[in-house]
Symmetry: C2
Subunit: 295 residues, 2 copies
């Protein structure tokens, strides 16, 4: 058995998630050390100066050679390439490799093929509207759900370590499968980004016709489109690496929307009441589960 406290954690990528995770582990002293690497040397220096990491690495290979646990926090589309680049530099006794990607089926399959039993998917469901190390926060994961996604090869002790890591971040772990993870996150996170972006682009067109549009926009527009304000590269990464699920949901969504559009007023009221109840029930179930955890 390996325990988190005796491990050096190597973090690849120091954006919002990577830097926040590193910072939390460093500041709590919950691991022996945190090595950090980013494509940008300036970002690595900044992370060291701010006390987010204990070792600043000039190369991904250097970072790989230091870690007992490797955490991939690079953009989804770079996960596999980064893995292949560092594979030779990783110590034979390195214990676990986790990725923080928001989609798991495609990326997990390719990472499992590189890392074998040492790999499990790890997805802390936390974020902010604006990304980057400048928005990093050691308490970003407090109270958040960390999805832990085993693959057929994953060693049980790696899963136990993933749960320890979730606790160290202040989150709560939840095991799921790659397909379930991607279906659910497509529904509650990735597809909503496209919904919100479409509404923003629609408003842009309508504004050309009616320049006073912004003056009438209020909290409803702001909230419904909030997730369209996030980093475009991340939205594109999520939607494209989870494309099959997103497209499946989009087809169902358009049918539901058409049903609302063609409903008579009384029928529409019934459907809207059901929508409100569904939303309320989903949020209440989440809330109850979170309260249960705090007990």
């Amino acid at each position: 058995m390996t325990y988190l406290k005796e491990c050096t954690v190597s973090v690849f990528g120091l954006g919002l998630l990577g830097a926040s995770l590193a910072w939390k582990l460093t500041s709590d002293g919950s691991v022996r050390g945190v090595a950090g690497w980013s494509r940008s040397p300036e970002t690595v220096r900044r992370a060291l100066d701010a006390g987010m990491i204990t070792h600043a690495c000039v190369s991904a290979e250097e970072c790989a050679a230091l870690g007992d646990i490797l955490i991939l926090a690079v953009p989804i589309r770079s996960m596999e390439e980064t893995s292949r680049n560092i594979a030779a530099a990783v110590r034979p006794d390195a214990f676990a490799v986790f990725d923080l990607a928001s989609t798991k089926t495609e990326v997990g399959r390719s990472l499992a093929s590189v890392w074998g039993p040492r790999y499990a998917g790890f997805h802390p469901m936390a974020g902010k509207e604006k990304g980057g190390i400048g928005n990093a926060d050691p308490e970003l994961f407090l109270g958040s759900v960390c999805a832990i996604v085993p693959f057929p090869e994953t060693s049980p002790s790696v899963l136990a370590l993933a749960e320890e890591l979730a606790s160290a971040l202040g989150g709560r772990s939840l095991r799921t499968t790659p397909v379930e993870h991607d279906a659910v996150t497509a529904c509650i996170s990735h597809f909503p980004v496209l919904v919100a972006a479409s509404l923003s682009l629609l408003a842009e067109r309508e504004r050309e016709r009616h320049p006073l549009l912004p003056l009438l926009a209020a909290g409803g527009f702001r909230d419904t489109t909030r997730v369209a304000g996030g980093p475009a590269w991340l939205g594109a990464d999520m939607a494209s690496t989870n494309g099959a699920q997103v497209r499946r949901l989009a087809e169902e969504y358009k049918k539901v929307l058409d049903e609302l559009l063609s409903a008579a007023p009384e029928e529409l009221e019934t459907l809207l009441a059901r929508a409100s109840a569904s939303r309320g029930s989903i949020l209440a179930a989440k809330e109850a589960w979170s309260r249960e955890e705090r007990k």
Copy 2:
């Protein structure tokens, strides 16, 4: 010329908007008195007990006979019927009739035919997730935009009074036409309700397949669907009395969504960046206009 301070304002309907408006005018002493009527005698009593109104009316006719200014705050679908019911009881020297409906083309046309030059549309763009007198707040309209919608018959002095009323509520008035009002509010408010409700209904279905869905739902789902949590009767009223604009926008929206769904990753990133910029520009224009007002 009539001045607000010398007027008794009669409010028909004491839900969130009607009660908040009455309360603000009563508590600031910005009018001579506020008469209030609701279909529910219990609601009228509650409004009087809480000091939201100065005269509790047992019938719409009684309320009509007291007012220099009449404010219709009943559900959109009841506006015309309420108007016809009270028309005979209104004093010949009553000065102005405003409706607080969130759509203006259809309802305005029918109200203008009842009230002639005394009528103008008045739409304070403010609300809360939960309606009803229990959520009333005299400061609900503070900083909000009050759309003022003249009809061909509307007397200029009625428009001046509408502007005075907007100021008394703590809002800022903005003149627009019925068609422009309905096109813009369909885009930034009414259609987003259907977008949010469709997403909630989609999540309900997906939850049947994956019962852990709520546990993975986070802030993105909550915010994107927030407007689906409002009163169903209101959403149905808005979408159905503004049906032509909502359907026109829905057709454009589906095309935009399809464009995002079929885009290659780099193309999608470009479109998402544009969506984020459009949203940012709309919110910034609103913010700049609000700051200008505060000067």
